[in-house]
Symmetry: D3
Subunit: 182 residues, 6 copies
Amino acid sequence: MSGRVKRGLYVGRFQPLHLGHLKVIKSIMKNVNELIIVIGSAQKSHEIGNPFTAGERIMMLKQAFQEAKIPVSKCFFIPVPDLRMHSLWVAHVISYSPHFNVVYSNDPLTRRLFDEAGIKVEHIPFFDRELYSSTEVRRRMLVDEDWRTLLPKSVSNIIDEIGGVERIKDLSMTDSPTKRNH
Amino acid sequence: MSGRVKRGLYVGRFQPLHLGHLKVIKSIMKNVNELIIVIGSAQKSHEIGNPFTAGERIMMLKQAFQEAKIPVSKCFFIPVPDLRMHSLWVAHVISYSPHFNVVYSNDPLTRRLFDEAGIKVEHIPFFDRELYSSTEVRRRMLVDEDWRTLLPKSVSNIIDEIGGVERIKDLSMTDSPTKRNH
Amino acid sequence: MSGRVKRGLYVGRFQPLHLGHLKVIKSIMKNVNELIIVIGSAQKSHEIGNPFTAGERIMMLKQAFQEAKIPVSKCFFIPVPDLRMHSLWVAHVISYSPHFNVVYSNDPLTRRLFDEAGIKVEHIPFFDRELYSSTEVRRRMLVDEDWRTLLPKSVSNIIDEIGGVERIKDLSMTDSPTKRNH
Amino acid sequence: MSGRVKRGLYVGRFQPLHLGHLKVIKSIMKNVNELIIVIGSAQKSHEIGNPFTAGERIMMLKQAFQEAKIPVSKCFFIPVPDLRMHSLWVAHVISYSPHFNVVYSNDPLTRRLFDEAGIKVEHIPFFDRELYSSTEVRRRMLVDEDWRTLLPKSVSNIIDEIGGVERIKDLSMTDSPTKRNH
Amino acid sequence: MSGRVKRGLYVGRFQPLHLGHLKVIKSIMKNVNELIIVIGSAQKSHEIGNPFTAGERIMMLKQAFQEAKIPVSKCFFIPVPDLRMHSLWVAHVISYSPHFNVVYSNDPLTRRLFDEAGIKVEHIPFFDRELYSSTEVRRRMLVDEDWRTLLPKSVSNIIDEIGGVERIKDLSMTDSPTKRNH
Amino acid sequence: MSGRVKRGLYVGRFQPLHLGHLKVIKSIMKNVNELIIVIGSAQKSHEIGNPFTAGERIMMLKQAFQEAKIPVSKCFFIPVPDLRMHSLWVAHVISYSPHFNVVYSNDPLTRRLFDEAGIKVEHIPFFDRELYSSTEVRRRMLVDEDWRTLLPKSVSNIIDEIGGVERIKDLSMTDSPTKRNH
């Protein structure tokens, strides 16, 4: 489609969205006209490593972008469910996304899969990856350490509204068949 | 989530998006603050009744909204793949969507499924449904009648760019195993 | 398992259970100690040919058996979802069922699949199959003819309680994406 | 359905059914008219943590109830396969089950999922959970400790008939692709 | 892989393999060093339009090739199950196949899908397509017309050995849930 | 089918094919006329334990057999994707395979599953299993130890051509959502 628009693609699970994600996204948006944000593992929620639904994660993205003055009209938020075959993953992302020119990723597998498909891949700058990590946010929630400073204010609010911390604590304690669903 | 926002939900397949869809959406947006647009059967494409990918349909929505001055920042475009069980469809849509207060639909089954789940459902006004129908658009494409007047200009352009008419004609002629994939 | 018990297996979709089913089941139960009743296409509901959920169909079976004095304690009601491969269907039924000695069926494909797997298959007597048919029951519901005389009283009651006739009428009128879920 | 009947729901995997399950079920049945017993992860078998098929587990439940004088006619044994999405699990259970009024569970996730869906959830009394655990039963089987005292006699008999201990030992030793099926 | 080998790909369902298939394959093999034969809809069998299993179809191919003196050592017979998304089909075939340089197909959709993926597609000559058609073979089997003259002798023999005609007749008469598995 | 042919079946994942596999296969082929080689977990690739696609594995088998003078015309290479239910696995393999008389396996679960289905199972001789193991090959690739001496020359060549070592190293470093696809 319209050759003059440079459209990038960025993949995350956003469990939850944190300030590191926002810094990366702002950095990428200096180099593209529009950005497609793929919300990976869209079908997952209520798991200890994937507590939030796709709908909740879309809400986090939209409100955090507005809080951070990132123009939502230049972004696409696209939930993409997992496939059972890695070899099909790039074709799957392509079918769910508007046309894009370049993928931003530091992950070796993501880079390899898109590269093998002939799609341009660029590195993204790191922003204190130890600190700004969804795993660290969830860990802090479980042990009642300060997790709010790692997140945009709007995301903290959404997590409060949906009882996200209680949900994660429940998920950590479950022993039921539902836990083993996957 | 924030109780003051009235958020509606509208489901379509948009194969392709036409002017009737836009009229319905404009009409609904007078009554809600934000609108979630669910792109149904997201996993389907390259079928005679579902020629366009989810990514292409998202592009149609975004560009047609900008052309029609519908504020994209108040909308969510959410591709949702089919499930194999109707009884789970409402829960599926809920998990992919931000919280919503009301569903707009005239379809008896959609109305029933949301109503049984305790979700408010409202009717939408009709706009010459015989004429403004994706089935009619695809029929005209196949027989080289005028289909452009049924679509926003931006959607016609996208279809031209991706060779949509040729794709539909190919799909109508196939006799291959891929046609029978489902 | 215990070789002295003769256990039969009978497959139906029961959309809905009617008096013909009950006659067949009574007839089979003269020849076996226990009967496994497989509720096929368990995952389907809210489709024009499959309006009722597995749970609703289990309820119909239980209450109709009690009404007809068929001993529930000698029966197993087992919902079995469809598979995508016919060649696996017999193994699938076996894994969901207690051990059985004989299958009762007149259907050529069912008979063939079990026979190829080395399982004994016996015929069942016909009971006015034109009249006692779930298809006929659903047709009468749609056009407001008398459907109650084809069903046990308890099943009619369940259908009334869940608004079954309205559901079928809604299903017949839908034009929504949910209709095309499969 | 019939408002006068109080119907409860209890979820387990029963790999295998043990005396602790029976105590819980007897305790619940003092408070309800009928009890739905959901056999979770119904599609699984021949895995080290899920050795028995749904059919074998249904058989265990039926025979143990008869041994323990629990009235089978007041119970429903319903095998329910896993879903790939936790957010759909409650809707899935509802579609497979007759209408129920209350869920009995101590598991935080199960409680949360039903509670979020607006369904009443009650606690169940504990009965020496360390001892009466399917994991403990399977461990004892593997190391030839006494597992029989943890099970109803009828369940021990079924396990003997189907060679259950040998199956578990084989499953613990496998290194084949089939082990990695999931 | 080894650039000097020209490897072609040809897709069919082979329900059953007939003389027209063999003529096409012989014709293609004049232009390539090796040929990959994809057996499509591999998961299907015991359906009226897909009566034979993947294993039976592989057997037909092997024996017919030996009968026709087509060198099996230059061919790959690869059963590929259907996917639920057309947009992934080419990536799916690629992952199941050794590297290939060119696809042989007259089907507009197959040609389009591979062409969009940047893979070379060539036409194949027609050989009396009305006569040499699997649909025609199955029709003749059902009505006891001469079907053997349309097939290689070895394929007729396999069909006799597995009782293929009786299977197709049974499939045409079934009214059971198994028929509606899809 | 033709009762005079003794046809064996052997299951592996071949991630990658190594010299131990070849020794086993040569040993088996002394006892059968034809051998079916099932390539298990066919849908998997680009995972740390399953790096190669089904197509790449088929290529390894074909070229290694030619290098080792094993007659390809007496073998079937059949990729079989995983199922979600172990209880269906034997039926699944049967549907993908030509008729076979005997399974060769030392794995307790594989042996049990085929044995329960009434299929003859025979042991295979061990060939230094610690050394000749795909896990060991992949470990050596990751740490740059000598992996080539464990493989046929033709397989080493294929791995070089497709950049297999780099792929495995990338897979070991990934932290992306795609890694967690399963």
